[in-house]
């Protein structure tokens, strides 16, 4: 097992490519490097870190999906650049970009459409984040109902798949979704 040491691009270049300020990038990189001295984070570590934010639940599945969405080149690890670029899109990107990211998250096999199974997996993973100590109690029907509801809302041509356009349209039409997407910018 070789130790990989990865050095990101310069601060200026990253500043240009993302919507973060220098200060923010500095803080982020310091934390990043503290957790992962080698400069890249692999899925294991990622899952552990994610688990700390959701101590009560089982976060590994959702973390896995997020990881694969972030890892654009699919090499099993995220470098600081990928991290920061992805984050820039997510927290400061346009509505379009955010929705695209969400779509790629749901589309597990990257075939351009979201099937019911994929949606079920994602929603199960989200419910897992809550863990057992949530009320009211979660059972299979809950998840199934939830998936059905979502599909009802988004699958406009009722073919059992949600395509990118359907997704975009459904989300744009829903005002609360658009508002909610803006909630997640983090102050550093």
């Amino acid at each position: 097992m070789q130790v990989v040491r990865y050095k990101p691009e310069g601060l200026d270049a990253l500043c240009r490519n993302t919507k973060f300020s220098r200060k923010e990038l500095q803080i982020m990189y310091r934390g990043f490097k503290q957790e992962c001295p080698t400069g890249i984070v692999n899925e294991e570590t990622f899952k552990e870190i994610y688990a700390q934010f959701f101590p009560q639940g089982e976060s590994s599945q959702y973390a896995h999906y997020v990881f694969s969405t972030f890892d654009r080149d699919n090499n099993g690890s995220i470098s600081f650049e990928e991290f920061v670029v992805g984050l820039s899109v997510l927290s400061r990107g346009s509505l379009q970009e955010k929705l695209q990211w969400a779509f790629s998250l749901y589309d597990i096999n990257n075939d351009g459409v979201i099937s019911k199974d994929e949606m079920t997996s994602i929603i199960t993973a989200i419910y897992d984040l809550m863990g057992r100590c949530s009320e009211p109690f979660v059972d299979e029907n809950t998840i199934r109902d939830h998936v059905d509801r979502v599909f009802q809302k988004m699958d406009l041509n009722k073919d059992g798949f949600i395509s990118m356009d359907e997704f975009m349209e459904a989300c744009r039409g829903d005002a609360s979704i658009s508002k909610s997407l803006g909630v997640f910018d983090t102050v550093l």
């Binding site: 934390g31 969400a102 508002k179």
Partner: protein, 625 residues
């Protein structure tokens, strides 16, 4: 929390994935009042040696001295630094703990000095990293034993005794305590020696009785003398045994102890002999056998000799090694004896009459004794005999030093393994508790918010002691977004069972120290990309079901109404009067509306707090409607 604070934006951004499938809209983000607390360098002066670190680094562990505001007591205004009059070498380790999350124990440091420094800085020694933990425990144990020994030896004179019984017991156990005890000690020792000598001498032939050709043993000749001596000894031993039995704090335990068994075995033959002398000669054979047991009196010396006790203990603890030695010897003996037997079978007048008869030869040869009373005659026999004696050297001579060194190593190892196992359980328990705590911190926070809302509704001013930092606020906001997505709520840990969990409204919120501990734990388990897989998901115990008579939240049935999603208006829009038209719009969702109302009120009055309220049971809210 600052260690993973860099990842919090990531986690929150990833939560965008929840939004399209969320059942309810997300609560608004927390507005933090202290804008952008910049990270600044802190100077720490420890006895002249200067250390500098980021403020965030120190605040990773808020329940320690450096992480809390306790360090303000040490702030030097003139030099604008924190001054500690402590050991700078040890402080280095303390500071590294903040930086890396791992506390190391330097081997050259004195354990007590190290412990003192840790205590001063408010750090639990339990979190010493695995690399140094064993060392630390060993040193600590040695130190404690030494202290205990010292204390024991001086304690003996100082403890005031309650009763005669206790005094007696202590006199027995520790002869140094007084003259009487010492006298008793020597007297019993003398009588043991006399008794043993008597047993030995009475078998010696005393010389020819004048007038006959007999050469009887002394015991037969001077039977009366020996009988008197024996009686005296046995009386002393009986008295001693009874006294010990009386003085023992736990009689049953004492009776089971090995020393008392030896005592009993030493005096029983005499008494049995007393009763048996009247019987016929059949039994006297048995009586003679019983006399053999008198030799056990020599074991009574072990009370008088520390060395004997240690040897006994050594053998006991080394039993498995010895057992293995015996077993391997037995194997070798059987093998060689068999071969010898079959080799020498056909020799005339051979002494190797059977395999067991050959055992004797094998043992004598392997231990290189070589009595010569039984020797092989055939060539095969002689060859095998040669091999036997050579291998005997190996088989016997090798294990003995190995056993000796093994004994000490294995003995200590076993102790350590058991200790490690028990520590591991304790550690896991602590980790689990800390994880509970972090979830509990969130729930506690929610309760605090509810309290605040309630107070506001009742017209009272809430005590504004909200000093949570930015990251805590945002983390809690993230968790409440998750709640909204799944339309579920986080509850306390110990309410789970496979039915409807009940929400603990009545219990007071958990102390903030628990939430603080969670941070501690979080940083403990994050190594630098280390695979610390000690965390397990909290699949909660279905055992402890807590029955509360507090209202069970029943989910409203009309969640499917899509109108509800649209009907929500965000409270951040300026609503001067909370009791306005919003209420009509949200009547369809009685459970969530008060929450939003609470949110709006909250955000109006104290914009700094996170509107992470999710409503309690309908009880408190309805009044506002």
């Amino acid at each position: 929390m600052a260690a993973v604070a860099a990842w919090l934006p990531f986690a929150r951004a990833a939560a965008i994935g929840w939004v399209p499938v969320a059942q309810q809209p997300m609560p608004p983000p927390p507005v933090n009042r202290e804008h952008n607390r910049t990270d600044d360098l802190m100077k720490i002066n420890v006895s002249g040696r200067r250390f500098e670190t980021w403020r965030n680094t120190l605040e990773k562990y808020p329940d320690t001295l450096l992480g809390s505001n306790e360090k303000e007591f040490f702030y030097d205004e003139d030099a604008k630094e924190y001054f500690f009059d402590r050991d700078p070498d040890i402080f280095r380790n303390v500071l590294n703990y903040y930086r890396t999350g791992k506390l190391h124990y330097p081997k050259h440091e004195c354990i007590t000095a190290y412990d003192e420094e840790l205590a001063f800085f408010g750090i639990m020694p339990d979190i010493i990293g695995d690399c140094c933990y064993e060392d630390y425990r060993d040193r600590k144990r040695e130190n404690n034993e030494r202290l205990l020994d010292d204390k024991d030896s001086e304690d003996g004179d100082n403890v005031p005794l309650a009763s005669m019984r206790e005094k007696l017991w202590r006199a027995f156990e520790n002869p140094q305590t007084g003259t009487a005890a010492l006298v008793f000690y020597y007297v019993t020792g003398f009588f043991i020696a006399v008794s043993v000598m008597g047993n030995v001498v009475e078998t010696v032939p005393c010389g020819i009785v004048p007038g006959t050709f007999d050469n009887p043993s002394c015991g037969d000749r001077y039977e009366k003398v020996f009988f008197v001596v024996d009686t005296a000894c046995v009386m002393i031993f009986s008295v001693e045994y009874l006294l010990r039995l009386y003085a023992a704090p736990d009689r049953c335990k004492y009776m089971r102890s090995i020393m008392s068994v030896i005592d009993v075995v030493a005096i029983l033959p005499y008494y049995i002999g007393l009763f048996l002398t009247e019987e016929n000669d059949d039994v006297s054979g048995a009586f003679v056998t019983l006399r053999v047991f008198r030799v056990f009196r020599i074991f009574k010396f072990s009370r008088h000799s520390q060395g004997l006790r240690i040897l006994g203990y050594t053998l006991k603890s080394c039993a498995s090694e010895l057992g293995f030695l015996v077993f391997s010897l037995a194997m070798a003996i059987i093998i060689f004896a068999t071969i010898m037997f079959y080799a020498e079978k056909n020799v005339e007048n051979t002494k190797f009459t059977s395999i067991p008869a050959a055992f004797w030869y094998t043992i004598v040869t392997m231990t290189t004794l070589g009595y010569g009373d039984i020797v092989p005659n055939t060539i095969t026999g002689k060859c095998v005999g040669g091999i036997c004696s050579l291998s005997g050297v190996l088989v016997i001579a090798l294990p003995v030093p190995v056993i000796v060194s093994n004994f000490s190593r294995i003995y200590h190892q076993n102790q350590r393994a058991d200790k490690r196992k028990s520590q591991k359980k304790a550690r896991l328990a602590r980790i689990r508790m800390a994880k509970n705590a972090s979830g509990a911190a969130f729930v506690a926070r929610k309760k605090k918010e509810e309290e605040r809302i309630r107070l506001q509704e009742l017209g009272q001013e809430p005590e504004d002691k909200d000093d949570a930092d930015v990251f805590e606020l945002q983390h809690h906001h993230l968790l409440s977004c998750l709640e909204k997505t799944t339309d579920r709520e986080f509850t306390d840990m110990d309410v789970n069972y496979n039915g409807q969990p009940t929400k603990l409204l009545g219990t007071p919120p958990l102390t903030p120290t628990m939430s603080v501990r969670s941070r501690d734990n979080k940083n403990r388990t994050t190594g630098c990309c280390a695979r610390k897989s000690s965390r397990k998901p909290l699949k909660n115990s279905s055992d402890a079901e807590e029955l509360n008579d507090i209202s069970i939240r029943i989910p409203s049935s009309n969640r499917n109404s899509r109108s509800s999603l649209n009907a929500m208006s965000y409270p951040t829009s300026s609503n001067s009067r909370p009791n306005n038209i919003q209420t009509t719009a949200v009547v369809s969702m009685p459970n969530t509306s008060p929450g939003n109302m609470g949110n709006s009120q909250d955000s109006l009055h104290t914009p700094s707090t996170a509107s992470t309220v999710s409503p309690a049971g309908g009880v408190v809210r309805i009044s506002t409607l």
